[in-house]
């Protein structure tokens, strides 16, 4: 059975290493500051005992006031999982750091979120629309797109 790690415990370890990086933690999830996302993800991928080597999925959610990007992380070595979230504010040019450098599996998923929700992933090697065509205007998965 994949064990869902406690968000609180991981948050404490992250805080110890990167003070101020965690905004809040839930039962099996934690919310990190967007500017700390890349450092926190790198830590989670390599820290002994955690080793989240597998990025299961990335999802973007539009909550009107902010966009939330949800990372489902899994460790194949230890068979445990964690949900990491990051928020970005503003509807004109929301952006988050890219995690493609850590997990290549993020490549198409970040492009998809950029394409459908309009969140830019800084540092992505090839950030362009993926399912819609290049001339398309608007971001269909946003809640204000009708």
């Amino acid at each position: 059975m994949t064990v869902a790690l406690s968000g609180g415990e991981i948050a404490a370890r992250l805080e110890e290493r990167f003070p101020g990086s965690v905004v809040e933690s839930g039962q099996d999830s934690l919310l990190v500051k967007s500017e700390s996302l890349r450092a926190a993800a790198g830590f989670l991928k390599t820290a002994p005992g955690l080793e989240f080597d597998y990025l299961t999925a990335i999802t973007g959610v539009d909550y009107y006031d902010y966009f939330e990007v949800v990372y489902q992380l899994t460790s194949i070595r230890h068979n445990h999982s964690l949900v990491v979230k990051a928020r970005c504010y503003g509807r004109d040019n929301p952006a988050l750091p890219s995690v493609v450098g850590l997990w290549k599996g993020a490549d198409f998923q970040e492009r998809e979120i950029y394409d459908l929700m309009g969140i830019r992933f800084e540092g992505h090697p090839n950030l362009k629309r993926i399912v819609l065509w290049d001339g398309f205007t608007g971001y269909p998965l946003r809640k204000d797109y009708l």
Binding site: T56, Q72, G105, Q109, V131
Partner: protein
């Protein structure tokens, strides 16, 4: 005299027999050798995630049929499991068994097409795939008995399945379960050590264990690279912990291993089916659940081992009758991340074999 040459860009697809749907690869070639490849998606994008936000939880079930249309039962299952997790709904025992039976039949049906199409791409043109389709037909007949459909089943429901199986289903299923191992042996004898197949697939398109994990590959693609990772075992859902079965893995991570893993998985699915038929209890097939399910506000990620890999649904509820957000973690899309690394340096003809060995379904990749 020195002849000046330069790389040449060729579009493979979107409408090409080897692309298994509408998928385009922009290949940069140096003669026959592939220098670079860029996958182009979107030809089958229907905006299913957006459509789902406007529908009730029950109305979404037929939408999931249209994701991976070669494994609709698996899509149904993954989705209803995610909703049940979100809303905390229990499922009757008999329905759990029926779900497992359908999911494993679907795995065999899907692998038959996956393996047959791969052999087609390797040059065993049409003969093997026709035998595969002949066997798959028996599974489609079984599905038709339970839900009237042969491709888009809409069979699972939140809290169970839509109908109990008819009288003629179990005898037909037993007949299928008894005959299938013999069929797999027979056809495996023909192909397992076939020299042309070995030459076309052994050592071709290698994906290392580390690469496979890093690119979020799943299903047979991940297991062929030597990672023993099957959601049915590592995070058992439904009642999979009650069945005895093995997780076949490869070691080289080449096209041949991916092919072998699928063949062995079919045998394991038959094993699960045998046990499920024996233990199938009597009783209800659906718990009392309103058509207008209203899960409490929150979020849930439900995942299963679909034929093509980890199929997950991420749902966000705002306590209304429709999901606030509906996201599909599509194994076909993520497995395609590996394509570029696998094909660079190989010849054009190998590209088709490598692409075929990933076994994708564009309905799911594009959504």
């Amino acid at each position: 005299m020195v002849i000046k040459t330069e790389p040449f860009v060729v579009n493979i697809g979107p409408a090409h027999p080897s692309t298994h749907g509408v998928f385009r690869m922009r290949a940069t070639l140096d003669g026959e050798v592939v220098l670079d490849i860029e996958p182009v998606f979107g030809y089958l994008h229907r905006g299913i995630e957006k459509l789902a936000e406007e529908r009730t939880y029950t109305q979404i079930i037929p939408l999931t049929d249209r994701l991976d249309y070669l494994a609709s039962m698996s899509n149904n299952l993954a989705y209803v499991l995610a909703v049940e997790k979100l809303a905390g709904i229990a499922v009757p025992e008999r329905a759990e068994y029926l779900r497992v039976i359908m999911a494993e039949l679907q795995r065999i049906a899907s692998h038959l097409i996956g393996v047959g199409a791969f052999l087609n791409d390797c040059g065993a043109f049409m003969t093997p795939i026709l035998y595969m389709i002949r066997e798959r037909e028996k599974i489609l007949d079984l599905f038709e008995m339970v839900c009237g459909q042969r491709l888009t089943y809409n069979y699972m429901r939140i809290g169970g399945v839509s109908h109990d199986i008819p009288e003629e289903f179990l005898p037909a299923l037993k007949k299928f379960v008894d005959s299938m191992p013999g069929f797999i042996d027979e056809y495996d004898q023909l192909l397992k050590e076939n020299e042309i197949l070995l030459a076309r697939s052994k050592g071709v398109g290698i994906l290392s264990r580390e690469q496979a994990i890093n690119i979020s590959a799943s299903g047979p693609v991940l297991r062929a690279s030597g990672v023993k990772w099957d959601i049915r075992k590592v995070d058992p859902y439904s009642i999979y912990d009650r069945f005895g079965f093995e997780v076949p893995t490869g070691s080289a991570g080449d096209c041949y291993d991916r092919y072998r893993v699928r063949v062995e998985e079919m045998r394991q699915s038959v094993r699960i089916l045998k046990q499920a038929v024996e233990k199938l209890p009597a009783g209800e097939v659906r718990s009392e659940v309103s058509h207008l399910v209203r899960p409490p506000a929150g979020e849930a990620y439900g995942h299963i081992e679909a034929p093509r890999g980890e199929l997950g649904f991420y749902l966000v509820s705002d306590n209304s009758i429709a999901p606030y957000r509906f996201h599909v973690r599509a194994p076909s899309l993520l497995n395609l991340t590996a394509l570029r690394e696998m094909v660079v340096g190989w010849k054009v003809a190998d590209v088709l074999a490598i692409f075929g060995s990933i076994d994708i379904c564009m309905g799911e990749a594009d959504r």
